[in-house]
């Protein structure tokens, strides 16, 4: 019964489409959630969706790199990075990021609809659906929109920790785009993940408390006499 479903590409493509929908839902939550713990959960779920998409695509295409990507994503983005940020978050007492720059969540959701449209129009100028196939074209559009929405998160959030999550979301978008269009070599994917780890590490160290905004950070550096901001 199950094996007959797995052997049926049309069914698998439908599943992948449903997963795309869930990816966009998680992106919407990343834009509007105020609680940092749930923001991390949303990010972990989003990465898990990437894993599932890669696995289902492997079942359709049979490309072994996809399985490797799925495994790498599972270990790094579903387990390690959220765990790490969570650990730091518990040490430094922060739970919410209430403030937004320039755009409130309502406006960001509207802007992101525009971004998705933009991604669609932009990509249809490059590849038509007939070259890529409908599913792959859709994957490319969703990947690019996710990247843009991650950028929007970085732009509209105040705290460094949420900005980092925006960057991680962007990377998920790049991964999705890579899976469906560019066929990134696996070595580059590994390098990106290492970059991410280091980024998260650096953010935590540099921010001296993930709860500071960039302006506060400067202030803190001065208070802690790490850097006075003036030439001596």
């Amino acid at each position: 019964m199950i094996s007959s479903f797995i052997a049926n590409p049309a069914f698998l493509e439908d599943i992948i489409r449903i997963l795309f929908v869930f990816v966009l839902i998680t992106a919407a939550f990343t834009l509007s959630t105020r609680n940092i713990a749930s923001l991390l959960t949303v990010y972990a779920v989003q990465s898990l969706l990437m894993v599932l998409i890669a696995i289902f695509l492997y079942l359709i295409e049979g490309n072994k790199t996809l399985i490797a990507i799925a495994a790498l994503t599972l270990v790094s983005k579903v387990l390690l990075i959220p765990l790490f940020i969570n650990l730091i978050g518990e040490k430094i007492k922060i739970s919410r990021d209430l403030k937004f720059n320039y755009l409130e969540p309502t406006a960001s959701l509207l802007v992101s609809i525009g971004l998705i449209l933009l991604a669609y129009v932009f990509l249809s100028g490059f590849f038509s659906e007939f070259i890529l196939g409908k599913l792959f074209f859709m994957g490319a559009v969703i990947g690019l929109s996710l990247t843009l929405m991650g950028m929007l998160v970085m732009f509209s959030r105040r705290k460094v920790i949420t900005k980092a999550i925006g960057y991680l979301t962007m990377e998920n978008g790049v991964l999705l785009f890579g899976i469906f269009v560019a066929d990134l070599p696996f070595i580059i994917e590994i390098l990106i993940v290492i970059d991410l780890m280091i980024l998260v590490l650096l953010t935590t160290i540099l921010a001296i408390g993930l709860d500071s905004t960039i302006e506060e950070y400067h202030q803190r550096l001065q208070t802690l006499k790490i850097w006075s901001g003036r030439e001596n």
């Binding site: 795309f20 929908v21 839902i25 509207l110 992101s112 609809i113 998705i116 449209l117 669609y120």
Partner: protein, 313 residues
């Protein structure tokens, strides 16, 4: 008008009228359990309605004819709307029955008269409720239009009966995007029936009041009719969500066995959905009035997204 449709009119309306108060009690019960209370009996709403029916109606000396006709008119409008959403079987309906646009207008008529009713007695509470309802309707109505437009776009028809015939005929959800649209529909149920986080149906506190404020002046039989209208509205909206997302069991042919199966399945699915609504209500807090547009915006976002996804697919 054919015989099958006539029978449908009686059965569908009767069934919806009969089960609507049950779902209201069920939501109350789930909320009570979530708070560690026992809650009212499942039949309590029926008993309340019977009690109210026997009571005398008291009108404010300032009130006009609106106060007298609105409860009857609203129930009539909602019962007409219930013909648009088949729950027992899908009949051969005459043209116009089942049209989404007419359905939206029927809901708007009900909202309009409820607001007028709130203003009619001239009390400041009622006026406040009406003003809140109208200003929030200005935000939720475009969202509803987009949500139903998305539904129509996905299923390629503007008729509810045809839509449900399509979804009932398939085993998995007809299109992946229907999952998205059900989120919008769920938010619409919450908003239209005035539940937490939009409004709190359990209190008469000035800060939270919207729907309750408008019916504060009602009494006796009229109050019973208004409560029933509210329950019917909730059942209709729930039926739309159920028939779109999990339509299994809805029959298109009129047979006795088919009817029984349909009703039983609907009762089961709607009870589950009512439980879900109760849990949802228990899990979040009432939002500030000015925060509400962002809640509606979620529904708008998902509906717009549905249309976009359909264009890509």
């Amino acid at each position: 008008m054919n015989a099958s449709f006539l029978l449908f009119t009686l059965l569908n309306t009767g069934f919806i009228l009969l089960v609507s108060p049950l779902f209201m009690s069920l939501i109350k019960k789930v909320k009570a359990y979530a708070q560690g209370r026992k809650g009212p009996r499942l039949l309590q709403n029926y008993l309340d309605l019977r009690k109210l029916m026997q009571k005398e109606v008291v009108y404010s000396p300032n009130s006009s004819g609106i106060m007298r006709i609105a409860p009857y008119l609203n129930l009539a409008v909602l019962l007409l709307a219930s013909l648009f959403v088949p729950v027992v079987f899908i009949p051969d309906a005459p043209a116009g029955i089942g049209n989404i646009i007419v359905f939206l207008y029927l809901l708007a008529i009900e909202r309009f008269f409820t607001a007028l009713c709130g203003l009619d007695a001239g009390s400041s509470f009622g006026g406040m409720g009406s003003s809140r309802l109208m200003s929030l309707s200005a935000v939720i109505e475009p969202t509803m239009v987009i949500a139903f437009a998305a539904l129509a776009y996905v299923l390629r028809t503007v008729n509810f009966h045809e839509m449900f015939a399509i979804t009932a005929g398939s085993t998995i959800p007809e299109s992946p995007t229907l999952t998205l649209i059900s989120i919008s529909l769920f938010i619409i149920i919450i908003v239209e029936t005035g539940r937490i986080p939009v409004d709190n149906p359990a209190t008469h506190l000035e800060l939270t009041m919207m729907n309750e404020a408008m019916i504060l002046e009602q009494s006796g039989k009229n109050l019973a009719l208004i409560e029933l209208t509210h329950a019917v509205k909730q059942t209709i909206l729930m039926a739309i969500l159920i028939n779109v997302l999990v339509p299994w069991g809805l029959v298109t042919e009129l047979t006795f066995a088919g009817l029984a199966v349909s009703c039983l399945y609907f009762l089961l699915k709607a009870s589950l959905l009512a439980g879900l609504i109760g849990l949802f209500e228990s899990s979040i807090a009432k939002m500030r009035l000015f925060r509400l547009p962002s809640f509606y915006m979620m529904a708008f976002f998902f509906s717009a997204l549905t249309i976009l996804m359909e264009v890509f697919a």
